[in-house]
Structure formats: structure tokens, C-alpha cells
């Protein structure tokens, strides 16, 4: 079997999830993953022994950042059904204290650098060294960025929950 397929395909579910962490529009997120995979297949030989996982995530990350630059915080033409699909998919089995709506809104409100470290480490389970490679920063910088990002996320979630409670009252 094609060793490219054996190395790339197991990572596709995670890549799609990473793109969806950035974009609430499923079709658009998948288009960017598709673009990432096409680039990976066509530049497979230029990889020169780099580990596949951080290499693929780095390609995807750069495409997502480029996309974000081209489409700066504009209201998107996406129906509510599509936009909330992640939240809706899990609402039924939600048991913990954190409202998923608050969580998603808070994640979206993080600066891109901070969002990237949280998605890569907390959700994608990349090692600190791998995540640092993806973002092109030293591991020490990654660690302190992660710590700041988590503090910031906690603040945002707290503020969102308080605002929601005020509305309910």
C-alpha cells in the first residue's frame, strides 16, 4: 500500500476537527482540509524526513490563518443550522457545568495565537514539541502562551455565563 496513505489518512479526522475549531462552516472547513491534503500529496517529497503529523498540521494551520486574513471578521452567510451544528450535536449529552454555547463563543473570542495552542494541545493532543513546531515557536513560548490562553478562556467563559444568567433573571 501507498505509504503516504498509511501515514496521512489516520490523521484526517483530527485535521478536520482542527479546521472546525477555527471555522463553524463545515463545508468551508472541509474545503480547506482538502486543500491541505492536496498540498501534502503534491509536496510529499519535499517533506525531507519531517514527522508527518506536525508537518500536516502546519500546512493546515497556515491555510487557516491565510483564510482568516482574507476574510477578516465579516458576517458570514451561513444559516443558523449550520453554524450551531457542533453545539447541537452534543447538547443532549451535556452533563458538566460549562454551557457549550459559552465554550464555543469564548473559543471564538480568543486571539488566533491563543486559540491555536488550545486546539492543538487540548483537543488534538499534540505534544508540546509538536505544537511548537506547527506554530514555529520555541517550546517555552508555547508553554507560557498555553497557560495564558487557558486563563483567558476561563475569563471569557465566566463572563459569558454571568451575562447569560443576567438575561435569565
Amino acid at each position: 500500500m501507498d505509504d503516504r496513505a498509511a501515514l496521512i489518512e489516520p490523521l484526517i479526522p483530527g485535521l478536520r476537527r482542527y479546521a472546525r475549531g477555527w471555522l463553524r462552516d463545515t463545508a468551508l472547513a472541509d474545503d480547506i482540509v482538502q486543500d491541505c491534503l492536496e498540498r501534502a500529496v503534491s509536496s510529499w517529497r519535499q517533506r525531507r524526513g519531517d514527522a508527518v503529523r506536525p508537518w500536516l498540521y502546519a500546512i493546515l494551520h497556515n491555510l487557516l490563518v491565510d483564510h482568516g486574513r482574507r476574510a477578516p471578521r465579516r458576517p458570514t452567510v451561513v444559516s443558523i443550522d449550520t453554524a450551531d451544528v457542533v453545539a447541537l450535536a452534543v447538547r443532549a449529552e451535556q452533563t458538566d457545568a460549562i454551557e457549550h454555547g459559552d465554550l464555543l463563543r469564548s473559543l471564538d473570542a480568543l486571539p488566533p495565537d491563543q486559540k491555536a495552542v488550545i486546539l492543538l494541545v487540548s483537543i488534538e493532543d499534540l505534544s508540546y514539541a509538536e505544537a511548537a513546531t506547527v506554530l514555529g515557536i520555541p517550546v517555552g513560548t508555547l508553554m507560557s502562551r498555553l497557560s495564558r490562553a487557558r486563563d483567558r478562556l476561563a475569563e471569557l467563559i465566566g463572563a459569558g455565563a454571568r451575562a447569560r444568567l443576567r438575561r435569565v433573571k
Binding site: Q34, P75, T76, V77, S79, V86, D96
Partner: protein, 255 residues
């Protein structure tokens, strides 16, 4: 001697990535510093909430277009299809396209690219789902279709080759829009819903970079190049529409 507990230890504790020995050092530290411990426990809760929120996405079946074999195959076929395309002369016009950027935005529906996208959506809903006679002229009458449409639209048109993306041209027709006649081309792909390409002359937005929009159940990628507007339409669930749009644009520009 034990190294002092650092921010990196605390971060790694949240992620449960500490070696057992170091973890017990950190946990002793946290017992002595309950306010830090509370902060980190909150971070742990958020981490697991995020993981469970996003976990279902990784369980979704992977689209067939993302298989490495499918990508490699479309690359193998892309080259011959490209030369054919140049020879056959594609969707029209002279010159080169300018750089393309894809943007998603809210658009005024009355004119320009926004209007074009809407018209493409309307035509798609009427004709693409028609089982009996979606096209006025089939793939076998491509030459007649091209000369008819070129006359009605007032500029030379051609039929883009989307074989590299797995779509086969099945036919086309002239459709009415508030901005005059437009050419609607239909494409089929085994097991997938039809794809359509609408093109017509543009009064405003003569050159516009790619915009992706969706209305209800269909999505469009639209742009204009040298006075002709294009809109590619497919059901919302279709992925890979942007590369197809880029291929059409490249083919038209290289004619």
C-alpha cells in the same frame, strides 16, 4: 534537590503529561496553594469540556475526496485534462485572470456578484433536480450549444472540463435572469448531486474575486473575470467546490 515548580509544570499537570515523580511534587505544591489548585482544576474542566465538544467531529466519516488515492488520481488526470481543456477552449474570453481570493460575505442581492449567485441558485433548483429534461441540449450537442449560447449571450462561451474533479458534462440550456440570458451548464458525478455553472455578462462587478455564499440548501462560489460572471452551484453538503471553481477560472483564463 528538586527543581522548583514552574508554569510549565502546572500546564503539563492540567494536560496530565507529567511523569509520576514530578506529578507528586506538583501535587504537594498544589495542596499548599489552594487558589492555584482551584484555577488549574477549572482549566482541566474546560479542557475536558472542549474535548467532548469536538470529539464527535473526528468520528464523522471522512469524505471520499480526501482519500490519498483519490487525490493522487485527480492529480494524474489533471494534466491531460488541462491540455484538452486548453485545446477545446473553455469558458470564454481573452487574457489572464487576476489572482483569486475566496471570501465569504454578505452581499446586496440586487446587482453584481450577489445577484449572479442568487440567479444561479434559482436556476439550479429548477433544472438540476429535473429528472426528465434538465438540459435543452445534451453532451452530444455541445458544439451547437456553444454556438447558440455564444450568440444569445453576445460573447464566446465554452464548456469547462471538470473530469479532473470527477464531474461529467451532461448538457446545458439558456436561462432567463433579470440581467438577460445566461448559460446554465450541468454536470453529473456518480453517486452525487448535480453541479451547475451559470455564466452571463456583468454590468457591474466586471472583475470580482471569488465569493462563497449559501442560500438554504445550495451553495455557490461566484466570481467575475473580464466582464463575464460565473457561479458554480451545488448542494450545501458538497465539499471541494472551491477547487472546482478555481479550475474553471483557470481554464477560462487560459483560453
Amino acid at each position: 534537590m528538586t527543581a522548583p515548580v514552574g508554569e510549565d509544570d502546572l500546564t503539563a499537570w492540567v494536560d496530565d503529561r507529567l511523569a509520576a515523580e514530578r506529578r507528586s511534587v506538583v501535587e504537594r505544591y498544589l495542596t499548599d496553594h489552594p487558589e492555584i489548585a482551584a484555577r488549574l482544576r477549572q482549566q482541566q474542566d474546560q479542557r475536558s469540556a472542549l474535548r467532548s465538544l469536538f470529539a464527535p467531529i473526528a468520528a464523522e466519516p471522512v469524505p471520499a475526496t480526501m482519500r490519498v488515492e483519490a487525490i493522487a488520481e485527480s492529480r494524474r488526470r489533471a494534466r491531460p485534462a488541462w491540455f484538452q481543456a486548453v485545446a477545446a477552449a473553455l469558458l470564454l474570453a481573452v487574457g489572464f485572470g487576476s489572482g483569486w481570493g475566496v471570501r465569504t460575505r454578505t452581499m446586496p442581492p440586487q446587482a453584481g456578484i450577489g445577484a449572479l449567485a442568487r440567479e444561479a441558485g434559482y436556476s439550479y433548483r429548477v433544472y438540476a433536480f429535473d429528472e426528465q429534461r434538465p438540459a435543452e441540449m445534451g453532451a452530444g450537442e455541445q458544439r451547437q450549444l456553444v454556438s447558440w449560447a455564444s450568440r444569445r449571450i453576445g460573447s464566446r462561451v465554452a464548456v469547462p472540463d471538470l473530469a479532473a474533479a470527477g464531474y461529467r458534462f451532461t448538457g446545458g440550456r439558456i436561462v432567463a435572469t433579470p440581467h438577460g440570458p445566461a448559460l446554465l451548464l450541468l454536470y453529473d458525478r456518480a453517486g452525487r448531486a448535480r453541479l451547475a455553472v451559470l455564466s452571463r455578462p456583468m454590468d457591474i462587478d466586471k472583475d470580482a474575486s471569488m465569493v462563497s455564499t449559501r442560500y438554504d440548501d445550495v451553495q455557490q462560489v461566484s466570481w467575475a473575470d473580464r466582464g463575464i460572471g460565473y457561479s458554480v452551484v451545488a448542494p450545501s453538503a458538497t465539499t471541494g467546490l472551491q477547487p472546482i471553481a478555481a479550475a474553471i477560472r483557470d481554464q477560462a483564463a487560459s483560453t
